[in-house]
Symmetry: C2
């Protein structure tokens, strides 16, 4: 698979996060000649927060992680993830696979199974050959090292066209606090159901409750604001581990929260930039809505509309389709109060195309790779920004290929 035209130039230089080590290995779950299992091992005292898919058909791994969140942090903890098989819709056998992987990892590391978190991404409905993973755990434990986060990012890819990483360091109380994260995902990935997985690590010190609340609230402004194709995986997982090894208490610290949000935004945008078949990265901002939630519903109606997304693919400044998407959202809007901008270009206002607008200006703007569409509804103070990509022949080719 060719690298997405929207990919960053290179994988970022990720710092060592004190209190976490990583390892990646080729276990042969499905792929040949590449790594497909990552292990992260965290020091005693690490607090772990998580946000997971709301799907009613979520995988055994997700259910297990959700049950374990908030447990005692005095022992160490681990995250172990495989690619190539999602262990989703595998019935009771799927739960058995999760238990087997957790037990083997806990035994090898000398930590409770309640502190081992798992994820799996890849083909659905096939029994996870967990023996291949458990057979490699001793090797993973030996291989762990503080600089292994990039290798971990590579091991969890499925049809991603590039590995995704982001980092930020902030100075708090005169000491550096580091945040580094990795992600995988490019829509619900062909040839089968797949997954967005995100793992973020920091040496900051923060209690479990605040860590979970911060992660949930930032997720609403970042990962919950991106869409490639409106389809939701059974396995989506976002986890944040705070080792506390820096000794810097970041409770209530806005600099830390902002830095964490930057890392989450960066990773979420990279997922969109690796959207299946994507050739354009699109920011949709809605202002003047009845409420923030209403503005977000309208933003997502625009960002998920196949007609808006195909128009963008065709570099067609087809603002009529944006009006249509606003209308179908079911949220309050008044035709005669809507204004629409492409970048700085005023396209429509007062229920009609703007006097100053020309098709040439709109068409020229649409040729850019990164686009901004702004809608002001003019009826309230609700705002929202969401991000998406275009819908191209590439998406059809990737997803209509026979699963082989």
């Amino acid at each position: 698979m060719e690298k997405s035209p929207l990919a960053p130039d290179h994988f970022p230089d990720l710092p060592v996060i004190d209190g976490v080590t990583f390892a990646a290995i080729a276990a042969g779950v499905k792929y040949k000649d590449r790594t497909d299992v990552m292990l992260a091992v965290m020091a005693p005292g690490t607090q772990i927060a998580g946000v997971f898919t709301k799907s009613s058909t979520r995988s055994a791994n997700v259910l297990d992680c959700q049950a374990k969140l908030g447990g005692a942090s005095d022992a160490g903890a681990a995250i172990i993830v495989n690619s190539g098989n999602s262990n989703a819709f595998t019935g009771k056998a799927g739960e058995g696979s999760v238990a087997a992987v957790c037990e083997a990892t806990a035994d090898a590391l000398g930590i409770p199974t309640e502190r081992v978190f798992t994820a799996a991404t890849g083909v659905i409905g096939e029994r996870l050959p967990h023996d291949k993973i458990t057979a490699k755990i001793d090797e993973l434990v030996v291989a762990q090292n503080a600089g292994g986060l990039e290798a971990a990012a590579n091991a969890i890819m499925t049809t991603d066209t590039f590995a995704k990483g982001a980092t930020k360091t902030v100075e708090i109380d005169g000491k550096p606090v580091k945040i580094a994260g990795i992600a995988k995902g490019s829509g619900m990935i062909a040839p089968d159901m797949a997954t967005m997985l995100v793992y973020i690590f920091t040496d900051a010190k923060l209690g479990q409750d605040e860590l979970q609340a911060t992660l949930g609230s930032l997720c609403d402004e970042t990962f919950n604001c991106i869409t490639v194709d409106s389809d939701t995986s059974t396995s989506d997982s976002l986890m944040l581990a705070a080792t506390g090894v820096s000794g810097v208490d970041v409770s209530g610290n806005a600099s830390f929260t902002n830095a964490l949000k930057d890392v989450m935004l960066d990773l979420s945008h990279q997922v969109v930039r690796d959207g299946e078949g994507a050739t354009k990265f699109v920011e949709v901002t809605v202002t003047g809505g009845a409420t923030d939630a209403s503005a977000k519903t309208i933003g997502l109606a625009i960002a998920n509309s196949p007609l808006v997304k195909t128009a963008i693919a065709g570099e067609d400044p087809n603002w009529g389709r944006i009006v249509m998407a606003i209308g179908k959202s079911g949220e309050p809007a008044d035709r005669d109060k809507i204004s629409i901008h492409f970048g700085d270009i005023l396209v429509a206002e007062e229920g009609w195309v703007a006097d100053s607008y020309t098709e040439d200006a709109g068409a020229s703007y649409m040729k850019a790779q990164d686009l901004k569409i702004s809608v002001d509804l003019g009826i309230g103070t609700g705002t929202s920004t969401v991000w998406t990509c275009d819908l191209t022949h590439g998406y059809i080719t990737i997803n209509a290929d026979y699963r082989s």
Copy 2:
């Protein structure tokens, strides 16, 4: 545009509906060398019911029709529709265009403007050149004839690849009651926002209130159960005119309701069969849901999922994507109680692929042009059936082409 591979063999033989006459003419609104305005003229006493788009950005024509529904029926009535320009998002000028067309039609026919209903379909955001339409009204009035329904069906097409008609005659009290209808639509049609328009005529006798209630309730089981691309037009209109000329009172008559539903289902399926780029016609049936509404939400989540639709395009029996779509719907479901059939083939049950299922059987089934996907949720008695088409390169090509 080549005719859809899912098109019926031929346009049906539509009967004369006593009390209605039709005319079609080339007014040159946008298209050259084809008819683009249709007129239907109904006898005094005709009752008219209508169902319209719920879009908050609906067109001036839709707003005008909604205001006129339920008016006195002692005078005659008319429906006048143009293709080529949707008169949507044209501000106050759009309301002026509707008024001009209604007044000219009312004058020429000697009926009140309150009994003239309009619709417009085609390009959005461009002023409707209504002078071109009003200039032709005298000619339309002269040309009206009882056999003109097929010509009317042709005049309202935009990028439809075939004209759509359906009919049914039922015997009630020993007398034939006739129903005939036409439709246009093939998704939200490129190169611009477009429309589903449906006009159904019957010589049955029925009061306004019951006519409207029957139409609304049947619409929920027919046109509101189809989806091509999840996008909703600003102009969708469905109107039913009962002239009463047969003298047969069909109040509370199940045979009439069933016949009307057959005509509506037939027309709604033809719209799906003309879905942009469609190569497969797909029926999705959900049973065992918490409620009928919940079953419909899940059915539409499956029918609208880009991943399900591309898998169908690729003839891929990718049942994992159906599990995903059930999960993302937000409706109650229990992974271990779901069963899935392709046609008569049991694919999955009890949270896993069925023992008897083979990929070969699934792959062979998916090669058919008409497909049935059945999901039993196993948690209640709610049921729903919806219809859709696949998502192909043809859809992208049609909708990503630059609007010229």
